[in-house]
Symmetry: C4
Subunit: 279 residues, 4 copies
């Protein structure tokens, strides 16, 4: 009996690592994305039925595909050891929420959209890119915290001072934060400023310092990331080359000092030899 | 007979590589561009006739010029081996579409505009620049794909949720994509947001995450390109120098180790010689 | 008696350097920030009382905390030798302004907001970041001066020419400076331009040259900072390594020349020895 | 008589190179700028008289100052050999245009503004900065030309297609160029697009390709400049150090090869010597 299971598993492994199978899955993912896109247009009732059938077919295909990949694992739980597998599993099972019940339709539809994200787990270049983006997040951490402190202080000040002028923009802290984000993107920020300048003529100081601070911190963050990335790239390059140029140069220098000493000794001995010859 | 043909060809080659001829062609290209520019202004009927004559002259000049360059080739088809020649040929022949038929006027006019692009094939610096830009495209490929996936998902979500609020902005997937591109350029994006926030008070999450994601991916793309370009510049520099500093340093280190061994042997022998002398 | 004082001081030092104590202070700072944030919302009178009590508690806690850190110093004035301590002291004492007097309420509230800045003096990473930002300011100095000269000239010209057209935007020098800052952020700058172009059709030259100049200077500033930072990073790296690669390579080259000379001498002597042997 | 002239000249040279004199001139330049700034505000008639007197005083001071600097030159024409001196001379003499004639008032005022530019010729750091900016211009040349070609083609196409829709934005080539510049700064570009999309539903292609092209070329220009600056900085650094690391490393490698050969010869001789000894 176990041999039969192993046979089956070998079949599944063969299917999983098959290039054509991979291509089919990527095509179905793109087709599924187009299906979701098409459903945003006004569609005649005739086509609606076809699309529902197609949608169910896609869902079933994904179920079969993920089952094959699960069955191809030696132990069932190994499948969940890879983050991308868990990601795939969640997206596929989320699609199983029935589309019929009217109140769930919107949620089911939204979940179907995220099936396009499976492309990332199937195209290795995109996976590398995602990992690169993920490693960029921690080094931004404290700058984002500093940025948030600046936003928080300005939002509180804005809320205290300008609430009576325009409660739609400065009603409370969260609304003020949104208004400040808008100002940081330069979106109609002068309208906001001119309004408050009628009551507080010097409130332009508030806006200009805010813009300078956020632009300044942002600029430094960008440069910081560029430098950080360059340095890590450089180190990685050195590590890959197995050497590290600076270290090697240092080694050569140290070695030259020893060579000098040795050659001094050798020259002294040679002088001695030639002298004895003459003597 | 063939000698006469060769004679003629030599004449054409002489014309083609003549600096003055090149200058004349560039001047005519610029003049042709000015002619197209002038035709966008209101012109008195008197001048209209003059301009038509000038336009026909330019077209004829270009025909003669490209014929000379074709005739200067040993074999007629060699001319089409260069991408820039095909580019020139297409632009010149496209101008031959008759300007008289009223319905074709607009198309003929539009095609005339592209004659200014011939400047690129005539000025070597612009050609180098174009090649540099072209090489930058592939390394952007997957980032653009990732960007498109983000846009697609947000467009589908936006279309599902906000279509009932404002069908002009969120009517279907393509309209939503255009609206998102507008938001990515910060163009009146708060108006779009405030409208949907009246129905979904938490829809600011949709906009802020979208802006953060696109800005973040874009920032990383930019840094990626800078790093990529720098690394390739560095390698090119090394290749041009014929060396590669890091490699040379490594060679020197390896060689020093051999030198050490040899000198050790030599010292040993010298010690032996001096000992024997004394003995 | 002095021993008792020393005992107490040791206690305070122990508290100050206690990790848990630090965590408690950071939590209280964040809690105080949330308290300020909460006060921007409409709060029922019941909660208002609670919040006043909490606010007083926070103020008292900060007083005790800063007293402990003062008492932990050997000499009272040492406390003020650190810039961050002065910063902390000012923020804490500023909170002591009574909240009761109606006219002072706004000021007291504003000062309370700045208590969130104490986070910077408590989180080492943020302190490093602030120092990094501070070192970036001087190298921007002259570029900012140049930028200001450009703004000043354009503001004066704008004020002279366009005051009669729209005194709200070009009334005097300071208003013009604000309008130019708005144009530099691309915020509805075409509205400003189209208005003046009705009187001075060539005023687009004014706006386009201004945008080009500011963008150009800004771009160069950014690149300048990147280069400056990279160079200083590079030097720092070299200093940390205790070497400086370029210098070492130079040393090796000079040393090789000396080695060549010595080896020439040695070879000459060896030739002499071998000749004598044969003779 | 000539001795007296030389005496006077020495006096002038002493004045010119005097630090206090320099400070005074800088102060007067700043004061003159403030005077121009002040004249944009509404001023009571009493002060107007004072300002006119001050303005005349400043003009006279500048005349004396530039005369001293001229007189300090050995030969009068040497003064005009420095570009900054010509610049100073033009600005000072331009101020001599009489302010009384009503029609010249505006021009005289405008010329007075440019006196602030004299700051650049007096502060060495600003002069260095200006030179750095000037050297950045040529390397941008061809990219700006390419950018202009893109703008020109899109402006002509826009003018042909959209003139009938909105002649205020697309009336002729120059107006279209201005509209495209506006679109490149993302300023209300969607309003322009939505208007033309009513007639040509696919005109979004026109706008999106334009934004992509300009952004793409601009991005590459920026990176190009960064790389260019970095490379030239690097070379300058090497030249200043008097070495050039890569070249030195290469020298060391070549030298090592020669050293190897020599040592091989030496070892061979030593082996011979030791053998003879034993024999």
């Amino acid at each position: 009996m176990t041999t039969t299971v192993t046979d089956w598993r070998d079949h599944f492994i063969a299917i999983r690592s098959n290039k054509i199978f991979e291509m089919v899955v990527i095509s179905i993912i793109i087709f599924s994305a187009l299906l979701v896109g098409a459903s945003t247009y006004n569609i005649s009732p005739n086509w609606l039925g076809v699309m529902t059938v197609l949608d169910i077919s896609v869902t079933i295909f994904f179920l079969i595909e993920i089952s094959i990949r699960m069955a191809a694992e030696r132990r069932f739980l190994n499948f969940f050891k890879s983050g991308w597998n868990i990601f795939d599993f969640l997206i596929v099972t989320a699609s199983l929420i029935p589309i019929d019940e009217s109140e769930m339709v919107l949620l089911a539809r939204l979940l179907r959209i995220f099936r396009i994200l499976r492309l990332i787990s199937f195209i290795p270049e995109l996976r590398i890119l995602m990992n690169a983006l993920a490693t960029a997040i921690p080094r931004m951490g404290y700058v984002v915290l500093l940025m948030f402190i600046i936003f928080y202080i300005y939002a509180a000040v804005g809320s205290f001072l300008f609430e009576s002028i325009n409660s739609v923009l400065w009603g409370d802290l969260s609304i003020s934060l949104l208004t400040l984000f808008r100002i940081a993107t330069f979106e109609d920020w002068t309208d906001v400023m001119y309004e408050t300048m009628e009551v507080y003529p010097f409130s332009w100081i508030y806006y200009l310092t805010f813009i300078f601070l956020t632009a300044f911190v942002f600029l430094n963050m960008m440069i910081g990331i560029v430098l950080d990335t360059m340095q890590s790239e450089h180190e990685k390059f050195n590590r890959e080359e197995g050497i590290g140029e600076a270290g090697e140069v240092h080694w050569i220098k140290e070695n030259s000092i020893q060579m000098n000493e040795r050659m001094e000794r050798m020259e002294a001995m040679l002088i001695q030899v030639t002298k004895q010859k003459k003597g």
